[in-house]
């Protein structure tokens, strides 16, 4: 039985356990003179039975489903004759996909070598055995768990405490999932990065000035080793992010100031949500806009004044990205401007300063750390943004500061290197993970610093 069917079945069993335990708790309570003689309400006995039924079974199911594929693959490979054992992970995945295609009936067994056809039948047998075994085990555990809890429906047992402790633990696990996710990110990126640095020295990666990850399919091909210098990617990312910030910071900051200091309440409550729509629009839509409207427009405009612009200019991607992060900057600046105590504002105005002077000479300096924190957060968002640059920036790694030329970014390279089929052990694929690691570290640092500044600033006025 498949995992997808097993899951609802376990849940049904849990509901059954709930019902049975509920009835039993009532039955147990009846001769004692009603449910008030139980240590807990019938609901808790029932809920405990349902938890006992579902949780262990689901844990076993998840573990099994998570690892069955890999283990079966390992066994299937081991049954191949020793002289056909794969030499590299790439070859192994090729053989495995052949085997599974034969097993799924997509490939005629007569067209493949005999050992593969044999392995396919092994695979089929293993899969069906695994499914049967999994179903039996999971259902058995569910039934046993439910039965156990059912037998423990007794007046002297405080089921409420059990249920509450379990729930509390479940809540904790859910909260800890965030830690697990971070760990998952770090480890998934880290191991591949280490493998990458085994092939390409870390100094070449960090300080190399040329990026062309095309590695040859055959060893004897011309230009077989790609260049993995991250500098052009990084300057490209910085160029586009800088353009974006040049657009977003003035617009975001000024509109936040206007809305918080000058605008009437009504204007504020209509314009703010509209501005926030800019943040809600999917990035792929911005990418579309940048690539198909803004970029050709900039190219034509540059042509009119006699300059030459690439049709995938950094300027187009940067401008559109800037528009995208306007609401981000404006809502963060709005927060920090509002956090400046009203007394400072009143004091300045009472001395005869105009509103703009109060803003520029009193509130802005006071809010500056918070605003800088906000800008750093916006920068980290711009650096990590993917779709706009994938669609509107180029692929060629040019080391340039000219916004009319085409540049590429870290995220573009990650996306293009990993889209489509890839073998997991070529330097080309691994380099994407190294770039991911770099991106993760840079954005993490920016965020940590920004949050620290913002927090420190808030404490100052609290």
């Amino acid at each position: 039985m498949q995992t997808a069917n097993l899951l609802p079945l376990v849940l049904v069993l849990a509901v059954v356990a709930y019902g049975l335990a509920y009835m039993r708790s009532r039955a147990v309570a009846a001769p004692l003179g009603g449910i008030r003689n139980l240590k807990a309400l019938p609901f808790y006995y029932a809920a405990r039975a349902a938890l006992w039924c579902a949780i262990p079974a689901l844990i076993v199911l998840a573990t099994w489903a998570g690892f069955e594929g890999k283990i079966i693959q390992g066994i299937v490979i081991a049954t191949l004759p020793p002289d056909t054992w794969p030499e590299s992970p790439g070859q192994a995945s090729l053989i495995l996909s052949q085997i599974s295609n034969v097993a799924a009936g997509k490939l005629n067994p007569e067209f493949v070598p005999e050992h593969i056809a044999g392995a396919a039948s092994v695979l089929e047998a293993m899969e069906s055995r695994s499914e049967n075994f999994k179903a039996t085990l999971v259902l058995l555990i569910a039934v046993l768990g439910g039965t156990f809890a059912w037998t423990r429906v007794a007046p002297h047992i405080n089921a409420r405490k059990n249920v509450e402790t379990t729930l509390r633990r479940i809540f904790f696990v859910c909260a800890a999932l965030a830690v697990l996710t971070t760990a998952g990110i770090v480890f998934s990126v880290f191991f591949e990065t280490v493998r990458f640095f085994n092939r390409v020295p870390i100094t070449e990666f960090l300080f190399g000035t040329s990026w062309s990850p095309q590695t040859a399919l055959r060893a004897d091909q011309v230009g077989s080793d790609g260049a993995f210098g991250v500098i052009p990617l990084f300057t490209g990312t910085l160029l586009i992010s800088a353009i974006a910030l040049l657009v977003a910071v003035p617009i975001g900051l000024l509109s936040a100031i206007y809305l918080s200091e000058y605008a009437s309440k009504r204007m504020r409550s209509t314009i703010k949500p509209v501005l926030e729509m800019l943040a809600g629009i999917p990035t792929v839509v911005y990418g579309f806009f940048a690539a198909l409207t803004v970029a050709p427009f900039i190219r034509d405009l540059a042509g009119l004044v006699g300059m030459e612009a690439s049709s995938q200019s950094a300027l187009a991607a940067g401008l559109v990205m800037g528009i995208m992060i306007v609401p981000f900057v404006s809502s963060l600046s709005d927060d920090v401007i509002n956090a400046v105590p009203q007394t400072m504002r009143d004091g300045s105005l009472a001395l005869g300063a105009t509103q703009s002077e109060t803003m520029k000479k009193v509130i802005f300096p006071a809010a500056l750390p918070g605003i800088i924190g906000g800008i750093l957060l916006a920068a980290s968002r711009a650096i990590g943004e993917t779709m706009i640059v994938v669609m509107a920036a180029g692929l060629a790694a040019n080391l340039t500061a000219n916004p009319l030329e085409s540049v590429t970014t870290v995220t573009v390279q990650i996306a293009t290197l990993l889209v489509g089929d890839q073998e997991f052990d070529s330097a080309k694929t691994l380099s994407a993970f190294a770039l991911g690691m770099l991106l993760f570290i840079v954005t993490l640092l920016l965020n940590v610093v920004a949050l620290k500044i913002v927090r420190k600033y808030r404490e100052q006025y609290d």
Binding site: F171, S356, S380
Partner: protein, 425 residues
């Protein structure tokens, strides 16, 4: 005395300049808002102007004589005969009836090119379903070729007619006049999956893929997010571990989405051996991505439940867990729902992580389950937008409009919920 007067004088003199500065500053603020709003309007206008034609299809309606001799087909139920038959010939013949001046094999071939790529299979489908219609005349509606469609939709704009020869343009004009070629609402868009042919491509496959992915995301991130928020707000002891969890959540909220794609690729596909391009993996990745958003907004909702409620419940003897389950969570639910809907809307528009887990494959069939290969709306938009054909660009803009409609309705729902259910204490 003189000193004071001169100071007052200085202030008065400078007033004009200062007021001017004040006005200028105000103007800058208005200008900034104007630029932001203008970009929003431009964006929408651009997409609507590019995409409205995507909702229109161009059809060629013909009385086709299903002549068995012309098609070299005697028995439509015979698959072998069908594979040899010429289904295009009767359509071209019917077209020729409308355009008597067409003559010669070359012109006939040119005429046939007005038809969509799948016109032949439309005839064959008719005959498979109703073999008795052989040798009768039927009125059948065909999809026109994308080139014709683009030409018709942008009539008079020379930029869009370059793909048709002048002769073909004349024919199309004539057929348009006769009402043979006509435009109508593009129902294909909402009833089919992707296709290599713009006229035959639709967003249904992507919509269903998005729906399946979102279901997985919702099923995971909503309960887990609320549980995590409840733990952190109500149960977490003040210690290093809790701090660590909080720092992690805040940082995850700012991790670039493409990194979650790397996580999905390495863990779900690499480590657990899950298949590529399936809604389950997409949903899992998006769930991890939206979790921080949901946790943060749920925590705010829980925080806004006044302590008096908790104290009252505890006062009548409820346990901590009962307080939370019976009072805090129901009261915080509107806020949690709002946060979750906004998080889901974000996930619906997310593209980058799904590229990495292989949801960019070209998939024609509408997915039927969580383990079927699928694509989602934003990825479909990306795929169509990267194509150079005008027909696909139109479709991409049309799909953007569909996506934005979904997102705006989700956000409107969130706002409505907040207005309707939120209590002020």
């Amino acid at each position: 005395m003189t000193d004071q007067r001169s100071q007052a004088e200085i202030v008065r003199k400078s007033l004009k300049r200062r007021y001017r500065k004040e006005r200028r500053f105000r103007l800058y603020g208005m200008l900034a808002i104007f630029i932001a709003l203008a970009s929003l309007v431009t964006l929408f206008a651009d997409i609507i102007s590019k995409g409205h034609t995507g909702f229109v299809k161009t059809t060629i309606t013909l009385d086709v004589n299903l002549d068995s001799e012309l098609m070299y087909l005697e028995d439509p139920t015979d698959a072998d005969q069908r594979s040899m038959a010429d289904f295009v010939a009767p359509i071209v013949a019917a077209l020729q009836e409308q355009l008597p001046e067409v003559d010669g094999a070359g012109e006939k071939r040119e005429l046939g090119r007005l038809l969509g790529t799948y016109a032949a299979s439309e005839i064959s489908d008719v005959l498979i379903n109703n073999p008795e219609l052989l040798d009768t005349t039927q009125t059948i509606e065909f999809l026109a070729h994308d080139r014709v469609s683009v030409y018709v939709k942008h009539a008079g704009n020379p930029r869009y007619s370059i793909k048709l020869s002048e002769q073909q343009q004349r024919w199309v004009d004539e057929l348009l006049e006769k009402g043979v070629i006509d435009t109508s609402f593009n129902d294909v868009l909402f009833s089919r999956g992707d296709s290599r042919e713009p006229a035959n491509a639709g967003v249904l496959g992507a919509i269903v893929g998005s729906l399946l992915t979102m279901l997985v995301t919702l099923a995971i991130s909503f309960p887990v997010g609320i549980a995590a928020a409840v733990y952190l707000e109500e149960f977490a002891p003040e210690n290093k571990l809790t701090d660590f969890i909080e720092v992690n959540i805040n940082n995850l909220a700012a991790v670039p989405s493409i990194i979650f794609g790397l996580l999905g690729l390495a863990v779900f596909i690499g480590l657990f051996g899950m298949p590529r391009s399936v809604p389950v993996v997409g949903g899992l990745v998006l769930a991890l991505m939206t979790l921080p958003t949901i946790i943060i907004s749920s925590r705010a909702a829980i925080k806004s439940v006044p302590p008096s409620i908790r104290e009252a419940a505890e006062g009548v003897g409820a346990s901590k867990m009962q307080v939370v389950l019976h009072h805090v969570i129901p009261l915080a639910m509107p806020g949690m729902l709002t946060g979750s809907i906004i998080g889901m809307a974000q996930a619906l528009g997310e593209t980058a992580p799904l590229l990495l887990i292989g949801m960019v494959a070209f998939i024609v069939d509408v997915p039927g389950g969580f383990f079927d290969s699928a694509t989602v709306l934003p990825v479909q938009i990306y795929l169509w937008a990267s194509s150079s054909e005008q027909g696909f660009v139109e479709l991409a803009s049309a799909a953007i409009m569909v996506l934005l409609t979904f997102m705006i309705s989700m956000n409107a729902l969130a706002i409505w919920l907040r207005k309707r259910l939120e209590r002020r204490w």
